[in-house]
Amino acid sequence: MTILKTFGAFALGSALMGSAALAGEIVLNSDHSDPAPKKAMEELIADFQAKNPGITVKWNNFDHEGYKSAIRNFLTADAPDVAAWYAGNRMEPFVKAGLFEDVSDVWAANGLDDQLKSASASMTIDGKKWGVPYTYYQWGIYYRADIFKEQGIEPPKTWAELLAACEKLKAAGITPFAIGTKALWPTGGWFDYLDLRVNGYEFHMDLTSGKVPYTDPKVKAVFEKWGELVKPGYFLENHAALDWQDAIPQLVQGKAAMYLMGNFAVATMKDGGLKEDQIGFMQFPEITAGIPMAEEAPTDTFHIPSGAKNKEDAKKFLAYLASPEAQAKMNATLGQLPVNNKAAKPTDKFLDAGFTMLSNAYALAQFYDRDAPADMAKAGMEGFQEFMVKPDKVDDILAKLEKVRARVYK
């Protein structure tokens, strides 16, 4: 054991020496490795340094998958001054382990409680703010506007209209919904929207925070609605073998007509050869009449680790990141929506539609795998995938999920 301790101390010591930051330097770790996010970060850092001449930003850019495990190491061993992460339950383990710094003062000093109001709830744990959100994007149904026109279909506003549209498409030999569930998470979008529309936001939040059993009849009702799409074969066949991008060609070739996805899918659809006026966007239709419409809007955030060495300058960075100008410019490059409600509106057709939808939303959900704790989310999405293949096993699946729920939320 002593050998281990000595080794540990040695490793920690050399790590600390390696990262000893200069005064006026902040170290920033993030996973903006794709071209657009990378460019957005470069611009953000350059603008911040121009505004704050005394401070330089040292940026370590990670790839997505690597970042998820790297953050656990660097937060404990060699903390940067600013780190990228996600809102909601995803940040809870780090907050509870005391690895994130309380930044309520940054919010108070810059009037963020008002300007970042829509994301305020998902940044709050124990009444304190733990980071600053800078971007989000809408989810909804993207559809082939030209195919809808050909078949004489109006974008459905209610569940009955949606079912009628599906029937018509299916009869014309077109699969109504594209989906690829190999990576599991696309099923989470379906469950979230069905639950938000069947039972409403409050119930959905109670469910994802473990207060309601999965065997509750209200949860069963969600799967009954889902079954109305699964059983007649309204989803792409073999979806369990496909990643979400693999389902896009079906949409491009006109073999499928709709796709419930996040706004990032538009870029892939355009790369696939669809023109802007071929793609339409609609809000997920109403199911239970009278339930206020809540939407899905995953939010990306920056945090200050509690082990940061230059917290003062890091807070300046967060304040700048929260400002309307910074968010407007950054999101124009990202192709996403600014969280700050004072920021300039996006000009893109889909973002504009998303902006209007989210501004009128009753409440925002983060996404199943960010609202529910990690191990519940994994089991849940696996269950959703199984349901989409074998809808008759719904009772077994829900019993299995309930067993996991009983363990996860102790």
């Binding site: 050998i3 080794f7 383990p93 190999k182 990576a183 979806h239 369990a240 073998a241 191990d375 995938q385």
Partner: protein
């Protein structure tokens, strides 16, 4: 000589033969201790805790194991591991068959040999990707073949009935090549006099192979079985690349389940992952002990 202290030189002289092997062993033994032996005990220790890798560990006794034995996913993984073990062993006879086939002197035989050996050289990840495309619905070669034969398409990797078999077939491809190489070297060392003697006594064909050739290949067979069994038990890369354990967890194996629980994006249940690792270790121990006992008894007989 005279000015050296007699006590120290005397001690070194007396014990030199006993001590120097220890000095030579020390660096390797130390590394083995730190990187292999200690982690084993650490894993066993962690498996008695509830721990997310960040906060404090809570001691929960055998609760992880109790949960494991009522966990459907664990039994699915265990069953798949058994399937792997049994079917993966097909690589041994298949490798032998290929080796016998290639063990002839024809022009260009070296080229054929290297072509057959090729799959072993590519990384498992690439093998996984190739087979994923091979099975892919809509454009894969295999699914096109099945469609032209039966009229319906089967997405092998999305169907819980076939998925594990599909991955094992992908794994067999390089493993057969490996066994083949082992047997080819074995065949080079066959004693021609014994074969000659067998021929004189009228043995030919299968009887010659079974009674004269195969016994001489025993060392190669032993190694081939050992590496194949171990390869089957630690199968991870192919599962991870081809299906990530899906659809809905039906192609998981123990090592992948351990990774999922302990280290993946949705995991970080270190204690539970460690418990799975301990079980896998115990299963491996059974085989390792069998092999060791066999090897030791052979050495004693030799």
């Amino acid at each position: 000589m005279a000015n050296r202290s007699p006590a120290s030189s005397g001690f070194w002289k007396r014990n030199q033969r006993r001590l120097s092997p220890l000095f030579f062993l020390a660096p390797g033994a130390l590394m083995f201790l730190i990187y292999v032996v200690l982690p084993i005990f650490q894993s066993i220790w962690i498996s008695f805790h509830d721990w997310d890798g960040l906060g404090a560990k809570t001691f929960i006794g055998i609760a992880n194991y109790a949960e494991l034995f009522s966990d459907d996913a664990f039994y699915t993984s265990l069953t798949n591991n058994l399937l792997w073990l049994v079917l993966y062993l097909l690589a041994v006879p298949a490798g032998l068959a290929v080796a016998l086939f290639l063990n002839q002197t024809v022009t260009g035989i070296r080229i054929y040999k290297s072509l057959f050996f090729f799959p072993f050289v590519i990384s498992q990840v690439v093998v996984g990707l190739i087979f994923t495309w091979f099975y892919a619905p809509n454009f894969g070669l295999f699914s096109a073949l099945i469609k032209s034969l039966t009229g319906t398409e089967i997405a092998v990797l999305a169907d819980e009935r076939f998925v594990t078999y599909g991955i094992i077939v992908a794994g067999l491809w390089p493993q057969i090549a490996y066994c083949m190489i082992l047997y080819l070297t074995g065949l080079n060392n066959i004693n021609p006099e014994q074969v000659e003697a067998g021929r004189m006594d009228g043995a030919r064909g299968f009887r010659l192979f079974w009674n004269i050739i195969l016994p001489q290949l025993r060392p190669a067979t032993f190694i081939a079985i050992v590496v194949t069994v171990i390869g089957a038990l630690r199968s991870f890369d192919l599962v991870s690349v081809m299906t990530a354990g899906g659809p809905y967890g039906s192609s998981r194996v123990l090592s992948f389940y351990m990774y999922e629980e302990a280290l993946s994006e949705y995991g970080y249940r270190m204690g539970y992952g460690a418990a799975i690792a301990v079980i896998l270790f115990l299963i491996m121990m059974v085989f390792i002990t069998l092999f060791l006992v066999r090897m030791l008894s052979q050495e004693r007989n030799a």
